[in-house]
């Protein structure tokens, strides 16, 4: 059966929380390292200082030894004990031993000796236990070569470790306390920095949360960090495309509604009139008109769909290298014009060099077809179609010997004219609208030119480099 419903999970952790957690972790790791290092250093420092005291005391005692009538005498100096009392809470051990280890003076019969080593002659420090407590010792040896006494006298001085440990702890505490304060300050600062760095993101997410889900206008990107600008740019492009496709769909629907309603109504009226027409000749004439109207309605539908397709492909179809000469050639070879105007003469004017653009072949083909159909319908023969390169632009043009469109239509060609121009049932406007939208989709324009004795309309697209030409 179905898994039990997952428990309602809390909100995922915020970016700020994650950053702060990481900072806290880093600080803690750092603190542990520093504490360890400080403790080590503190112990080392304490060991060195108190080792010096031990050595000083031992050397004090060593200096006080003298030989009197063949016997070592120790004038035990009080200064040695006062040195050792620098660690006031620590127990003391001392022993002065003659050759062979006989105790000359000392606190303890037990011989606390350093671990056997090659007698280097210098002071030997070592750790041992003193009455059950860990302690530190030093042994120095003073050698005598008198007439009546010869040999080494060893002085061992030791001390328990309380003062050392207290000093190490004190040093560590004195170091760690400021470090702790610094750590807290760092934490507070990283909190502030993180908050301020993430503020644009928070503002943005708040903005997005409050946005109308149908609002496809671009999100403003001024003053935002670069990372966000990239992300927002992509989102804005996506929303723009979505917006244009929605727009195209709306246009298609409203065009279809607008343009199909009148001819369909006219066909219905004519069919009804035919139904009531008793006269056969009149009825035959009506039938012919009805047929013409339905054909024209078919052409209109074609164009509507073609425009919708072009506008859809302009957004979505990939751009591929395309030779405009081939487009012109294909239009001529398809021979649609022979159906439309069998008597018209059509010439193809193309050069040797390829005329390359980057565009969608279907859309450009539709545009060329519409240009040609317009010329066949409204222009005067002879009609020519051609492609050429004009500097940085590539042109696909259709020329006829007529005067060109009426100035009113020509003036509207540069605007968003398609709907007003297409309001007539059989207009050139819709065809030109297709051309205009292809031009817009691939970054080009439509140009109306009036050469000697005729009219020429051209679709100008940015020329692609020659390398794109097929081999």
């Amino acid at each position: 059966m179905a898994d039990p419903a997952p428990p309602p999970s809390a909100l995922p952790p915020s970016l700020a929380t994650r950053v702060l957690k990481a900072v806290l972790l880093i600080l803690l790791a750092g603190a542990l390292l520093v504490a360890g290092a400080t403790l080590y250093n503190g112990r080392l420092a304490a060991r060195q200082s108190y080792d010096r005291i031990l050595l000083g005391a031992a050397q004090d005692i060593a200096a006080s030894i003298r030989i009197q009538s063949g016997r070592p005498l120790v004038d035990m100096p009080v200064s040695a004990f006062e040195l050792l009392a620098q660690a006031p809470e620590d127990r003391i051990h001392y022993a002065v031993r003659g050759p062979g280890g006989t105790l000359i003076t000392g606190l303890d019969e037990r011989d606390i000796a350093p671990p056997a080593r090659g007698g280097g002659g210098g002071p030997e420090f070592f750790d041992d236990r003193l009455n059950g407590e860990p302690a530190r010792f030093v042994r120095v040896t003073r050698r005598f070569a008198e007439r009546d006494f010869s040999g080494g006298i060893s002085i061992t001085v030791g001390q328990t470790l309380r003062a050392r440990q207290a000093m190490a702890l004190g040093l560590t505490r004195d170091t760690l306390l400021p470090m702790l304060l610094a750590g807290l300050a760092l934490l507070a600062m990283s909190w502030v920095v993180t908050r301020s760095a993430l503020r644009p993101l928070e503002a943005l997410s708040e903005d997005l949360a409050q946005r109308d889900p149908y609002d496809l206008t671009p999100v403003p990107t001024e003053g935002l960090p670069r990372e966000l600008t990239v992300m927002l740019g992509a989102m804005n492009r996506f929303m723009g495309r979505l917006d244009r496709q929605m727009e195209g769909m709306r246009h298609l629907i409203s065009d279809a509604a607008h343009q199909l309603r009148t001819p369909v109504a006219a066909i219905r009226v004519q069919a009804e009139a035919m139904q009531d027409q008793p006269d056969d000749t009149l009825r035959a004439r009506s039938l012919a008109r009805l047929l013409a109207r339905t054909r024209s309605l078919g052409a209109l539908l074609d164009q509507l769909l073609s425009r919708a397709l072009v506008s859809h492909r302009g957004e979505s179809a990939p751009r591929a290298p395309l030779d405009l000469r081939e487009v012109a050639l294909e239009v001529v070879e398809r021979g649609d014009h022979e159906l439309l105007a069998p008597e018209a003469e059509l010439r193809l004017e193309i050069g040797e060099d390829p005329v390359m653009v980057r565009a969608d072949a279907f859309s450009v083909g539709e545009a060329a077809k519409n240009l040609l159909v317009n010329a066949l319908k409204h222009g005067a023969p002879p009609i020519a179609i051609g492609a050429e390169r004009r500097g940085t632009e590539a042109a696909l043009w259709v020329r006829d010997a007529g005067p060109g469109p009426a100035p009113g239509i020509a003036a509207r060609l540069g605007q968003r004219f398609e709907r007003s121009a297409a309001s007539r049932e059989d207009s050139a406007g819709l065809g030109l609208a297709i051309v205009a939208s292809v031009a817009a989709a691939f970054g080009g324009r439509v140009a109306l030119e009036y050469p000697e004795g005729g009219f020429r309309i051209a679709l100008l697209l940015p020329a692609a480099p020659q390398e794109d030409a097929p081999e």
Partner: protein
């Protein structure tokens, strides 16, 4: 076997048994001088002390009254014997006491240094000055001066020595008056006497001159505070040097004058230690806290065991008070070579053929 033979046998057996009993039965240690029991509580706290029972009795009685569950067995010891007994107890060779209170500060420091003491910490011990505390294992209970006493009848007012220098001058000027009339502790018998002599030897160069002068006038080294004080009172001695001021105060007859030397006055602190293996350490801690309480300190001050610190009362400048601190340097006093040296000097001064 005849009846006679049997009798001989039996008596021999009895003898052996008696001998065995003599060796195995615990015998009271020969060294202790007096024993007194205070209170009747079930737990018996053994306090070994060098302090004269007659002097400290009110304080111990008060403690026993405040703690009805305890009874205090007070054993009075000589300081050297007490030290040897405590060392033996520390090594497990003798029955340990529950608390040891001794005037031999150097011996107590040595016992603590040898890890024979039990640590304890309380607000009362924390309030003690550093000089009267070591390692939270040794606590100075009293503050008693080492004084010069004199017989007021034997010494003219202008001859009374207020300082050691005055005493030296007096011995030089009037040797006949003082011949065999000066007494001091025998340092070989008395741990306290040795401690004072040791402190003197560290404190000032007058020590050598003093020994020399003692030697010239044939000073007497003898035992025990009370004997010396009585001797001064009775006129056997005119002057006694380094006598424990508290005893002099408590015991002195009206004809005994007390001088706190104005160059410096040594102050000794009777110190208390709880042996590491004390059977009733908790009771001993109660005793310690009681002895440091304001009530007991007040009692001790009345008994003369805590010298007044007010200069107006004692005519002693604070800078002249030299409290012998309970700290590691006191170990020097027990050092074998130091003792040998001091004893040698002492013997030279006090040997019968000296002077």
């Amino acid at each position: 076997m005849t009846l006679r033979q049997l009798c001989t046998w039996l008596s021999a057996l009895l003898c052996v048994l008696l001998l065995a009993m003599m060796f195995t039965l615990p015998r009271p240690a020969a060294a202790q001088e007096r024993v007194e029991t205070f209170g009747a509580g079930a737990t018996r706290l053994i306090l070994r002390s060098t302090t004269d029972i007659d002097i400290i009795e009110p304080v111990i009685a008060r403690f026993a009254a405040l703690n009805p569950d305890l009874s205090v067995l007070y054993e009075q010891w000589g300081s050297n014997n007490l030290y040897n007994n405590s060392r033996a107890a520390c090594a497990g060779r003798a029955a340990p006491a529950d608390a040891v209170l001794s005037s031999g500060a150097h011996q107590m420091v040595a016992l603590v240094n040898a890890a024979c003491a039990h640590p304890y910490h309380s607000p009362a011990t924390a309030a003690l000055p550093d000089q009267r505390r070591w390692r939270d294992e040794l606590w100075g209970i009293t503050e008693e001066p080492a004084v010069i006493i004199y017989n007021t009848e034997a010494l003219a007012a202008e001859d009374v020595p207020r300082t050691r220098f005055a005493l030296l001058d007096l011995m030089r000027k009037k040797p006949e008056l003082l011949r065999s009339r000066i007494a001091t502790y025998d340092i070989e018998d008395s741990g306290l006497g040795y401690l004072f002599a040791h402190a003197d030897s560290l404190e000032a160069t007058t020590f050598g001159a003093m020994l020399e002068a003692f030697s010239r006038v044939g000073a007497i080294a003898t035992c025990c505070s009370l004997t010396i004080i009585e001797g001064v009172s009775e006129g056997r001695y005119h002057i006694a040097y380094n006598v424990l001021g508290s005893y002099a105060e408590a015991r002195a007859a009206p004809n005994v004058g007390i001088i706190l030397p104005e160059d410096y006055t040594l102050m000794m602190s009777r110190s208390l230690m709880i042996p590491r293996n004390a059977p009733h350490a908790e009771a001993a801690q109660r005793l310690l806290d009681f002895l440091l309480s304001p009530e007991a300190q007040g009692q001790l001050a009345e008994l003369g065991l805590i010298a007044a610190t007010d200069p107006a009362e004692t005519s002693l400048l604070p800078s002249a008070r030299r409290l012998i601190p309970l700290s590691p340097p006191l170990l020097l006093a027990l050092d074998r070579s130091t003792r040998e040296r001091l004893f040698r000097l002492w013997d030279e001064a006090f040997s019968p053929d000296a002077g």
